[in-house]
């Protein structure tokens, strides 16, 4: 203020006196000063200017879009990490307004591939949120891995050097690792490798996936004994013919023993030879190497074993030409209250878990019979705090189990159908006896809703998955968990046992599937590739493959030993609630919210994959054999019985 006045006075004075030159000099000097101060300001601003992110990114974007067609798709991959980190940098610096407008300007580019992440990131408005949100955290801490061919990498470097794009360069240095592969640009198909890598650095996943997985089947299982009996009988029938097969048999069992003793996976080459002339019904099982159980397994009662053997003898053989029969259990009048359903292994019992905390069990073998079951009512013991009522008197067709104090999210039958487990949002798991119709144990350990619970294939042990981001292993006789599997970055949504009981797989909202060693509690595989939360898991009966279904309707099949995706199964348009392999592993059935059961040909596509590995040809997608639409009934659960009859269940939802 004073300066200005003084200057004015000086100027007036000079004018009055007629010192024109001096006046001009003064003016010039003043101009120079002001511009220099201005440019100082500009410089200072550019260092802290929110617009530089905008400029930097939009320049990179236009450059990437106008690059050579052949390399464009590779270069475009760089945009997403740059975009996300520009946005988060802006937020971190506190330019909320600018972050917002930046986010919205370029959102459309990434909407297609990353809509779910964008939805989550959209909410970030302050540096505080950045620290709090798990997704943002993992994005900040970990690096994207982007595969580029040599030439595109060079192009990118040239661009960054030429344009002095410091902002983008910084982001790329900080958050992206390039995996430069020599030769031509790769196909677009492996895009998923690039974009899904969040929540973990590549090294970690790689390191984890290097560990051994003994995916073989259990020694001395019922199936194996069955097979032996079969081959014995075959031998007596046609000795000469089967000599070769028997020989193979011996070798394979030898191989199994070897695998078991050395605890090392052995992909024996005799597999193919054995498979061909063995009965295909059993070949799938016999092929797999044998491993020793790491848990002490419960002893199977003789009569149960007999019935299983009977079932195995009567098993229908399924493959891509002979499809299974599907029996569908429809829940009526659920009033939107059915949260989960499960079917026992023989299909005779169906359980429904409801949002009103109740668990109801239907005995399907009794349905359709006249309600004369009053005699069984006498068995009802006195009901305790946890009430169970077989309400035959009210001619109700089901048994009601009450005890939970929150919506029941999962229920599962033990392999022989005598026990039932249910998990609820009250963070407990309850064990019920279907023989006594009573609650036996309440397992408390989780701190948040338990989303899923699954019995192990041999019973006795079970695994649970919870909102508290852990999965836990329990045994029926202990109220404390045996193992706690921690590592997922978000809710663990589903859990599934490996056939040999040595591993469990968990699917999570962090879009990964992990495989855990039951004995050590360590994560030994990480499967990255899903684009949304994983809702269902299934293990192939030969123990080699795993299928996982997600919210978008994509199903992925994984090879456990390599940790790689065998092939994605695209076909469902909505959440895949349930997956099931047929007993010999030739078919995969999937049940979805789009009201269909789909049957996929697994056997031929894994074969095709083996061809791929050797040839390096184009990837063959798994084939869908059949889509079975239901009448507006989303399919909640699927189960192949031991005789290969497929059971499915769902709640009729009209008008939704």
């Amino acid at each position: 203020m004073e300066d200005e006045e003084m200057e004015k006075k000086v100027q007036q004075y000079l004018q009055r006196k007629g010192f024109r030159l001096t006046e001009l000099a003064l003016q010039e000097e003043r101009n120079r000063l002001s511009t220099s101060s201005l440019s100082d300001v500009a410089l200072a601003r550019s260092e802290n200017d929110p617009a530089r992110y905008y400029d930097g990114y939009s320049k990179l974007r236009t450059w990437a879009y106008s690059s050579l067609d052949q390399y464009k798709h590779e270069l475009l991959r760089v945009l997403y990490p740059a975009y996300i980190h520009c946005f988060m940098d802006l937020v971190a610096e506190g330019h909320t307004q600018e972050a917002r407008s930046f986010f919205h300007t370029f959102r459309e580019d990434h909407e297609l591939m990353h809509s779910r992440d964008l939805q989550k990131l959209e909410g970030i408005l302050s540096p505080l949120h950045l620290e709090e949100m798990e997704l943002a955290q993992s994005l900040r801490q970990n690096k994207f891995r982007i595969k580029l061919c040599e030439y595109s990498y060079e192009l990118l470097l040239q661009y960054l050097q030429k344009t002095q794009a410091l902002v983008v360069l910084g982001i790329i240095n900080e958050h992206i690792t390039f995996e430069v592969s020599p030769g031509q640009s790769s196909l677009i198909s492996d895009d998923s490798d690039v974009v899904a890598l969040i929540g973990t650095s590549k090294d970690l996943a790689k390191q984890i996936n290097q560990k051994d997985v003994h995916w073989g089947l259990l020694e001395d299982s019922v199936e194996e004994r069955m097979e032996k009996a079969l081959s014995d009988s075959d031998k007596t029938e046609a000795e000469g013919k089967d000599a070769d097969a028997e020989d193979n048999k011996k070798r394979s069992s030898e191989g199994g023993k070897q695998g078991g003793s050395h605890k090392k996976v052995k992909k024996d080459k005799l597999v193919g030879a054995t498979g061909k002339n063995m009965k295909s019904e059993t070949s799938m099982v016999s092929v797999a190497p044998r491993v020793k159980p790491e848990l002490t397994l419960p002893v199977m009662p003789v009569e149960v074993e007999q019935s299983i053997l009977e079932d195995l003898r009567n098993r229908a053989q399924l493959n891509n030409l002979s499809l299974p029969s599907v029996s569908f259990y429809t829940f009526l009048n659920t009033h939107n209250g059915l949260n989960c359903s499960s079917i026992s292994h023989d299909g005779s019992l169906v359980v429904g878990g409801f949002s009103d905390s109740s668990v109801k069990v239907w005995d399907m073998s009794k349905i359709g019979q006249p309600p004369k079951t009053s005699s069984s009512q006498g068995e009802n013991g006195p009901s305790q705090g946890e009430r169970v009522s077989t309400s035959d008197e009210g001619r109700k067709s089901y048994t009601l189990f009450q005890g939970h104090s929150g919506p029941v999210y999962s229920a599962t039958f033990s392999p022989f159908g005598d026990f039932l487990l249910s998990s609820s949002s009250d963070s407990t798991i309850r064990l019920w006896s279907t023989k006594l119709n009573a609650n036996l144990v309440c397992y408390k350990g989780h701190n948040y809703p338990v989303w899923d619970v699954q019995f192990s294939p041999v019973g006795h042990y079970f695994a649970s998955a919870s909102h508290d981001r852990t999965a836990r292993i329990w045994s029926m006789d202990k109220i404390q968990p045996l193992r706690i599997m921690a590592g997922h970055l978000s809710d663990v949504d589903c859990v599934q046992w490996h056939v040999n009981c040595n591993y469990i797989a968990t699917g999570s909202s962090d879009k990964t599937v992990r495989l855990w060693d039951v004995k050590t509690g360590e994560c030994i595989r990480m499967f990255i590739g899903h684009r949304s939360m994983v809702l269902s898991l299934a293990m192939s009966p030969d123990g080699r493959y795993m299928a996982s279904g997600d919210e978008d309707g994509t199903i992925m099949m994984w090879d456990l030993s390599s940790g790689r995706c065998v092939s994605p199964l695209v076909g469902h348009s909505s959440c895949v609630w349930s997956l099931a392999y047929s007993c010999e592993g030739a078919l995969l059935a999937s049940g979805s919210a789009d009201c269909t059961v789909k049957l996929w040909d697994v056997a031929s596509s894994t074969k095709a994959l083996k061809m791929d590995e050797t040839k390096g040809g184009s990837t063959n997608r798994l084939r869908m054999l059949k889509a079975l639409p239901t009448k507006s009934t989303p399919v909640y659960t699927l189960r192949f019985s031991r005789r290969n009859l497929l059971f499915a269940a769902g709640a009729l939802s009209l008008g939704s």
Partner: protein, 545 residues
């Protein structure tokens, strides 16, 4: 910046008792509120997924809140969708319409019906990979697409599976073949039996018949052309078509193009049945209704269905070379399509057609008894159609019968009555004329015929009395006074109305789109005389008169 504006925070602060929240506080809170909201929604979506739903409901938000140790928001638990109302005077302000509930009402209300208990039913979704056609399964989409029809897999040397598509071969199960044969046999030979009725019921209910539809439509088309002279068979075939159309499980639209021609044939064929006594009229009526129902159901999907149909019908109607039976069918067909079809297609041509028809109706001109009978049939159908149209107009615009139409009516009536010489009614026609729908000969009217015919047509009396020996004829011309008797439905025999130049001008005016019902009535009156009044509701006619 955030989707929650500062103002909202201020409003919320006020509502919890903080009167003056500093601006910077609300500005800082707003983004955090948005973040928390998103967090809760994320949890709610998780809960929704685990409840195996794809639609978010209030319960999910409640569970998400309890996950975060926040008290749930009570009061939104009902399953109904929330009804938001726009606040008056504010564009973007909505609130939930929450009525005040009177406890007394609730207590006194009768108990609602208990909701049905949950139940489980089992059915076969597939048997060895094939979905059985039972009501529990969704209906098939037409015939299975050729690509999915049958696949065989040939494993080549390299082990890669190859799909080879066989030529499409429609495989019909043995049961369905037997079913088809049985139905065909019943239709052709035993359509009178009760078994056939059962068969029709089965055709209209069974859900597994879809594979047979192409066979049935071919069967119908084929048999109709072959047995045009066999009326019972035609009737049976049309009944089969009707049952197929009624079947909710059949997707019949792709076969309509095959089914329509036989149906239309049964409406406008020259001869149906081989004997004169055959009641082919009934068949024509039946088919007309059937076709109309098809139009109503598929008109919007099968866009040129109705135009093609009406073109066929109007051709049949307007061709003077065609026989009267064909004309009858065409009239019935159009009239079944509804009042607007009548108004647009029949009424404009009514005038000219009546000129054609008139000679056929009269004993003097048409000596052939059969022909005359047919002409009367056509006349009756036309009358019915016109009446239906009029009835509809009147129902639509009850107040159109304003007093202002009266002079016009009067004048037109004068037109009628001042040219009595052209009337050529014949009394014995009444005997030969079969009773028309909605009209019954009413002997009582004779007594009313003597009512004075004074008023506006005094000059006509003489002409009528000389030419019309039957008193009912006089009554016909003096309709103005015979309110009650006309509404009771009387056969009118003054059909042979005069068609002077003047009348046609009146008509032309009247057929315009914006005509009012009064005009319509008067012009129809021109054509049909009082018979048309039987289609007017009593209160209206009294007003009108």
């Amino acid at each position: 910046m955030s989707i929650v504006p500062k103002e909202t925070i201020e409003v919320i602060a006020q509502s919890v008792g903080i009167a003056n929240l500093p601006a910077d506080v609300s500005a800082a809170l707003a983004p955090d509120v948005e973040y928390r909201l998103r967090e809760i929604m994320q949890e709610a979506i998780k809960c929704m997924r685990h409840a195996k739903r794809t639609v978010l409901i209030a319960d999910d938000v409640d569970s998400a809140l309890s996950l975060r140790n926040v008290e749930p928001v009570y009061g939104f638990a009902s399953g109904d969708p929330l009804r938001f109302k726009r606040a008056v005077g504010h564009k973007d302000l909505f609130y939930i319409d929450d009525r005040e509930v009177d406890f007394k009402e609730i207590i006194e209300a009768p108990l609602p019906k208990a909701p049905l208990d949950t139940a489980v039913v089992a059915h076969w979704l597939a048997i060895e990979g094939v979905q059985p056609a039972i009501p529990e399964n969704p209906p098939f989409d037409a015939i299975v697409a050729p690509t999915e029809n049958k696949r065989t897999e040939h494993v080549k040397d390299d082990g890669l599976p190859v799909d080879i598509k066989l030529p499409v071969k429609h495989v019909l199960s043995r049961e369905l073949q037997m079913y088809f044969d049985k139905i065909a046999e019943l239709t052709m030979s035993r359509s009178e039996t009760s078994v056939f009725k059962e068969a029709l019921v089965s055709l209209s209910r069974d859900s597994g018949l879809h594979p047979l539809v192409p066979y049935f439509s071919y069967f119908v088309a084929d048999e109709v052309t072959r047995s045009l002279s066999d009326l019972p068979v035609l009737f049976a075939l049309m009944r089969v078509v009707q049952s197929l159309l009624h079947n909710p499980h059949i997707h019949i639209e792709p076969y309509l193009h095959q089914l329509m021609p036989p149906m239309i044939t049964c409406i406008v064929a020259k001869r149906l049945g081989h004997r004169l006594s055959d009641n082919h009229w009934e068949l024509r009526d039946f088919c007309a209704n059937l076709v109309a129902s098809v139009c109503r159901r598929f008109g919007h999907v099968y866009h040129n269905l109705q135009t093609r149909l009406t073109k066929t019908l109007i051709h049949a109607f307007l061709d003077p070379q065609k026989s009267l039976t064909q004309h009858y069918g065409a009239v019935q067909g159009i009239s079944a399509l509804g009042p607007s079809a009548i108004r647009l297609l029949l009424l404009p041509n009514l005038q000219t057609y009546m000129q054609l028809l008139e000679p056929e109706l009269q004993l003097e001109k048409q000596k052939n008894e059969m022909k005359r009978k047919e002409a009367w049939r056509v006349y009756g159908a036309l009358l019915c159609a016109a009446g239906k149209c009029l009835y509809d107009r009147l129902k639509l615009f009850p107040n159109l019968l304003s007093p202002s139409t009266r002079p016009l009516l009067r004048s037109s009536r004068k037109v009628v009555t001042t040219n009595p010489n052209k009337r050529k009614p014949s009394t014995d026609l009444s005997a030969s004329q079969p009773p028309l729908k909605k009209m019954a000969t009413d002997g009582a009217m004779n007594s009313l015929a003597s009512t004075p015919m004074a008023g506006n047509m005094p000059g006509t009396m003489d002409g009528f009395s000389t030419q019309l020996p039957n008193p009912s004829m006089m009554q016909a011309s003096s309709s103005g006074q015979l309110v009650e008797s006309t509404t009771s439905g009387v056969i009118r025999r003054d059909q042979g109305n005069i068609h002077t130049q003047r009348v046609s001008t009146v008509l032309r005016l009247a057929w315009k789109e914006d005509q009012n019902a009064g005009h319509l009535l008067s012009s129809l009156y021109e054509v049909f005389g009082e018979a048309i009044f039987s289609f007017v509701q009593p209160p209206e006619i009294s007003f009108f008169l």
